[in-house]
Amino acid sequence: MSLNNAMLEKYRNNFLQEVAGNVEQGDWVKMCMQCGVCAGSCPLGDAWEHSPQKIFMMIRANRREQVLSSDSMWMCTSCYHCVVRCPRGLPIPHIMHGLASYAKRLGLAPKSNPTLWFAEVFWNNMLKKGRVNELKLGLSLYFKDGFASGIKQAMAHQKLGINMLKAKRMAPMDMFAGHAIKDIFGLHKMIRKAQEIEAAKLEANSK
């Protein structure tokens, strides 16, 4: 049984409890009193479909599919406007990021969301050498929408690139290998272990 089905089976119609038990900082959701100050304070405003206020209400209303496949959690920029104003002190961006990561793990995250795509590229890029290879990360952003548009983007930023080269802010040799951190194998081991612990916890929770 997939993790998603196992969770569905276990929590049935209590999504609030599922969130409290499995999402980082998810137990805070029940503290929300729906005053709306987070939604009103969010600088993204109308740019996303579900404000934190809506997401929290949807969790209570058992709109599981709708919440987990929402792209709103992926839009949060962690500006913290909502946190400083929330009268109940909910760690709203943390909950949003927790929901995003939970949705991803269950395989319900939106398929074509640019921030989700970027988060994955960033993570994989960082994991390879233990530090971000900015040249490769930048190029993969340029070529995100295909070869032609990538070339166009690169040409448009030609001058910036040359200036960065001159100022030694960009290392062209990173294109081939890039330099790793001292104990890259140690890091990989650590991450693997952390992922194992996390997966085991969710696995145990789903039973």
Binding site: M33, G36, A39, G40, Q53, P87, G89
Partner: protein, 430 residues
């Protein structure tokens, strides 16, 4: 020198607002000696600054006058104004209180004729009106002030103004050499009725009370309605003195908020519902521009207050928006613009109003770290009913966020407890 005759049968009442006055009168009416200490130059506290009471919409000046008469008629009460308790020692049935009395510079000869006020030029923020206007350096705090006696502001002492005031007085009532004095006396029980203060609105950063002239607090709005108040009973925008007709009320301004006061201040819902009736009172039912909008999380009007809430809900001039306002900005004409999202439909709004009234929260007027005596307080700074407090009993808003009705009830309760203590003392002495 001020002399106070007091023994360990005496009940000390600290604070002469509506709770302190009630406790003092009721303790004295049962035959006990009472010393009533008040920090301000006059009695009545914050009730004297209210325009109307909820839910009956009657005038607090009425009940205050009755209580002031009761105070005068009842023997056995010594009243000290401009006086602060600075230390208390001893235990139940045998306290010793130290009281600092600031100089008024005006003695009992004063007839409140006003000649001194006429000649003095220096002006200061009028505390009674929360600084909405100025008063002279020699002043009567407000028309009904008891004692009906002028006060000389210590800031004019040593200036020509002080000499002018003294020269203008026909009754030899001004004594510029009056000094601060400290007295000490005994008391068997103490009723602590130091009341509340509005939460500092400057701390609620997103609402811009410190930046926008047309964002005011509910206590200031209350002063505007007073015929003898800073605006002569008119609702005016502080920025341009134009009539404010489209008025927004923001609930829970400072209350129920972990960044400010954690507790519900309990009075603000009813206070706003009351103040929303001022709009029709001021402009009449036919003025289409006059309207009120109440932004709230939830309206807490319990018991019989529910009827009042229903009445306001049915008022076509008043609308309710369920939303905690996220922030306020202002346009080029200094009109406040409220931003937020409502909870009934999640509509994003950007509403312009003439004037914003913050339903400001209630906090204890004595800071939790500056009590001059050992006392048990809760996490919000209100005094707990605790046996460890011995013969010290809290009354009114020193004990919790209360409306006048409930404050007076706690005052009577505190008086009863204090009377029991002094009766026990008397009994044990045979």
């Amino acid at each position: 020198m001020t002399e106070v005759v007091a023994t360990n049968h005496t009940i000390l009442v600290v604070g002469a607002g509506i709770s302190g006055i009630t406790a003092a009168v009721e303790a004295a009416e049962t035959g006990n000696n009472v010393v009533l200490v008040e920090k301000r130059p006059y009695l009545g506290g914050r009730v004297s600054q209210l325009y109307k009471y909820f839910p009956k919409l009657c005038f607090p000046s009425c009940g205050l006058e009755i209580n002031q008469r009761r105070l005068s008629a009842q023997g056995g009460i010594s009243i000290l104004t401009m006086a602060e308790v600075t230390a208390v020692s001893g235990s139940e049935g045998n306290y010793s209180a130290t009281v600092k009395i600031s100089p008024r510079f005006v003695n009992e000869n004063c007839t409140a004729c006003g000649a001194c006020g006429d000649v003095v030029e220096a002006e200061f923020d009028n505390e009674h009106n929360y600084g909405l206007n100025k008063r002279k350096g020699a002043y009567l705090p407000y028309n009904m002030a008891k004692p009906q006696r002028y006060v000389i502001d210590p800031r004019i002492i040593g200036t020509d103004d002080a000499e002018k005031a003294k020269a203008a007085c026909k009754y030899a009532a001004i004594d510029l050499d009056m000094q601060e004095q400290t007295i000490e006396f005994k008391a068997g029980a103490i009723i602590w009725a130091t009341g509340w203060q509005p939460y500092d609105a400057n701390k609620i950063q997103p609402y811009g009370y410190d930046r926008y002239a047309n964002v005011i607090t509910s206590v200031e709005f209350e002063r505007m309605m007073d015929k003898f108040g800073p605006t002569g009973g008119k609702i005016l925008r502080p920025s341009d003195n134009a009539e404010a007709k489209d008025i927004a009320f923001i609930q829970c301004a400072g209350s129920r908020d972990r960044n400010h006061l954690k507790h519900c201040s309990r009075i603000c819902c009813m206070a706003t519902l009351k103040q929303s009736t001022y709009i029709t009172e001021q402009y009449g039912v036919d003025d289409a521009d006059a309207k009120g909008t109440i932004y709230y999380i939830d309206i807490r009007s319990i018991d019989r207050f529910e009827d009042f809430y229903r009445k306001v809900q049915n008022d076509p001039k008043i609308s309710f928006i369920r939303s905690k306002v996220a922030n306020i900005v202002q346009d080029k004409d200094q009109n406040p613009i409220l931003n937020g999202v409502d909870t009934e439909g999640y509509h994003r709004y950007e509403n312009r109003h003439d004037l914003v009234v913050l339903a400001i929260g209630m906090e204890p007027s004595v800071n939790k770290d500056s009590f001059p005596l050992e006392i048990v307080i809760n996490e919000h700074g209100f005094i707990e009913a605790d046996e460890a407090n011995g013969g010290i009993f809290a009354a009114g808003c020193a004990s919790d966020a209360l409306d006048v009705n409930r404050a007076v009830q706690t005052a009577t309760a505190a008086a009863l407890r204090a009377v029991q203590v002094v009766n026990r003392v008397a009994g044990s002495e045979g």
